[in-house]
């Protein structure tokens, strides 16, 4: 098949040049410029000044505010990734085992939040979790509480919203991984007398671990850089790395600091990828 392809380097270059130029100018140049900008000194008036300084990186490493910010981001990402795993695993396993003509529809339903704007879904959670929201009015109706419990504009709301926004990605990753699992192994274990629980713990779960690692990696990275959900459900009271980038870039107008924060997020990405690669290898053994 590969040999049927026409060897036309000049034509190929001509055809792909416009697209390459668009990505070069709209992506590569800005990212390089962002890295350069993080070394510029910042001006109290917000004016742009050229120069070379490590001031912002030193600030990120020594100022305890940014340490807490990074820690908060990591914690929030870990909690929501775990939440997505706990909800997504049963769904994926159910869909994997399902033999029904509704299967396609149920898969679509599980991933359809992917197609709905994050802003809309955050608003949906405000309707559910808000002071006059569904949960609070149910609890009040049942006489369990007198005053509404705060479920949004704090870490609880952000964790719930993030978990839900990660779920489709988790379900898709797990479903793809489970697809490679040989169902004959499960049947063999059952035939040999293993209980369903034992079959799950000794056969299904270990075999699905690579998919779990992959799904968790994707979700963790998405969570660390998530902005819309933390901003809207945190109500400006939950401070994370991504919300701080927005704050510094568009409200405080300290672009070099915002750029340094962005570089910090990319550094975390790299660390997560390296850790996940190691974990992936250990799981595979």
């Amino acid at each position: 098949m590969a040999d049927d392809r026409r060897r036309r380097p000049a034509l190929a270059a001509g055809l792909s040049l416009p697209a390459a130029a668009a990505i070069g100018l709209g992506f590569l140049l800005p990212v390089l410029w962002l890295a350069r900008m993080s070394f510029n000194p910042s001006d109290p008036d917000g004016a742009l000044r050229e120069g070379w300084t490590l001031h912002h990186y030193a600030e990120l490493l020594t100022d305890s505010f940014y340490g807490e910010l990074a820690l908060g981001s990591l914690q929030m990402s870990a909690v929501s990734t775990l939440g997505a795993l706990l909800v997504g695993y049963p769904i994926a396993l159910f869909l994997f085992r399902l033999e029904s003509r509704w299967k396609t529809l149920l898969v679509l339903l599980a991933i359809c939040p992917l197609l709905v704007s994050g802003v809309v879904r955050a608003y949906g959670w405000i309707v559910i979790l808000g002071d006059a929201g569904w949960i609070n009015s149910m609890l009040r109706g049942a006489g369990l509480i007198d005053r509404p419990i705060r479920l949004v504009n704090n870490h609880i709301g952000v964790a719930i919203g993030l978990t839900e926004s990660l779920l489709p990605y988790m379900t898709l990753s797990l479903l793809a991984g489970l697809g490679r699992l040989d169902r004959g192994l499960e049947e063999a274990a059952r035939t040999l007398g293993a209980s369903p629980l034992r079959t799950f713990l000794r056969v299904t779960l270990p075999l699905s671990l690579p998919a779990v690692v992959l799904g968790c990696t994707i979700c963790f990275m998405l969570a660390i850089s998530a902005f819309v959900t933390p901003r809207l459900l945190g109500g400006g009271r939950v401070f994370l790395l991504a919300t701080e980038i927005y704050e510094q870039a568009l409200l405080t107008l300290n672009w070099p600091l915002a750029a340094a924060l962005a570089v910090a997020i990319l550094a975390m990405f790299t660390l997560v990828l390296v850790a996940s690669g190691r974990l992936q290898r250990r799981v595979a053994e």
Binding site: A19, G26, L167, L172
Partner: protein
């Protein structure tokens, strides 16, 4: 004992699905609220927020901008993305894999970083808060999908028919026009629909490049939710969900959603 298992499983899975779908279902439900603020269940029901929506200047303006923007973005994406995808899938040249990796690289970066990076370059170039700037910014995150989907669609098509046509004397241009183009059309439609949805829904990058006089619908929506919260957002969201659902139907009819998402 045998019966309890499946029933418990069903109940559990239903509960998990409820968690997945709850925000969307409740947004649609509360859009028919007649109250002044968000309370669920509402005190009264009605269509007043749909009427208010039609009269809202910001949303109407944002809708026009987003529609124009997404249309231009899709047209340019196809114009430059389809030839690149064709080259990647059908031609042999050194650096083919590297080219595909480069063209899809923007998908690896979080939008909050990409948005900031684009602002930092576009602002001094006076591209911020302009149509060219918004179009360029949106192309960065939609072009990779167009290239990937069309290239995947092309590479799964057998090259035999094209070879047969060429052997029978058709010129390369004729082969492309009469054979390749019709074969790849479903992939192109899927790519266009997805690029349209992505551009129309894009919010994070847009937040960095919009201005007071040029703002997109998702940005207006974001700011509205950030500030006040009344059921008007729900009415708008319901309209958007219906619009997305119909766009998805277009994709599903032509290639299937799962394949379009590249998984």
């Amino acid at each position: 004992m045998k019966k309890i298992g499946p029933i418990a499983v069903r109940a559990g899975v239903t509960l998990l699905y409820a968690f997945v779908l709850a925000p969307i279902v409740l947004v649609i439900a509360i859009s028919f609220s007649g109250d002044n603020f968000i309370a669920f269940p509402p005190q009264s029901w009605g269509l007043r927020w749909y009427r208010a929506l039609l009269a809202h200047e910001g949303f109407a303006g944002g809708f026009r901008v987003s529609l124009t923007l997404a249309s231009i973005v899709v047209a340019l994406d196809l114009l430059i993305g389809v030839p690149a995808a064709y080259a990647i899938a059908r031609l042999r040249f050194p650096g083919r894999d590297a080219l595909l990796a480069f063209l899809t690289a923007p998908l690896l970066l979080p939008t909050i970083v990409l948005g900031l990076a684009i602002l930092l370059v576009f602002y001094p170039l006076k591209l911020a808060a302009t149509y060219p700037g918004l179009v360029a910014a949106h192309m960065v995150v939609t072009l990779p999908f167009v290239v990937r989907i069309v290239a995947t669609a092309l590479s799964t098509l057998p090259g035999d028919i094209e070879d047969a046509a060429a052997t029978l004397g058709a010129s390369p241009a004729t082969v492309f026009r009469r054979i390749t183009l019709p074969l790849m059309l479903p992939g192109v439609i899927a790519a266009a629909a997805l690029a349209f949805i992505l551009s129309f829904d894009e919010v994070v990058i847009s937040l960095f490049v919009v201005g007071p006089r040029l703002s997109t619908l998702p940005v207006e929506l974001f700011r509205y939710v950030e500030g006040r919260t009344d059921p008007m957002v729900a009415a708008l969201s319901t309209v958007l969900i219906l619009a997305t659902a119909s766009a998805v139907l277009v994709v599903e009819r032509s290639v299937g959603v799962m394949r379009a998402l590249g998984r």
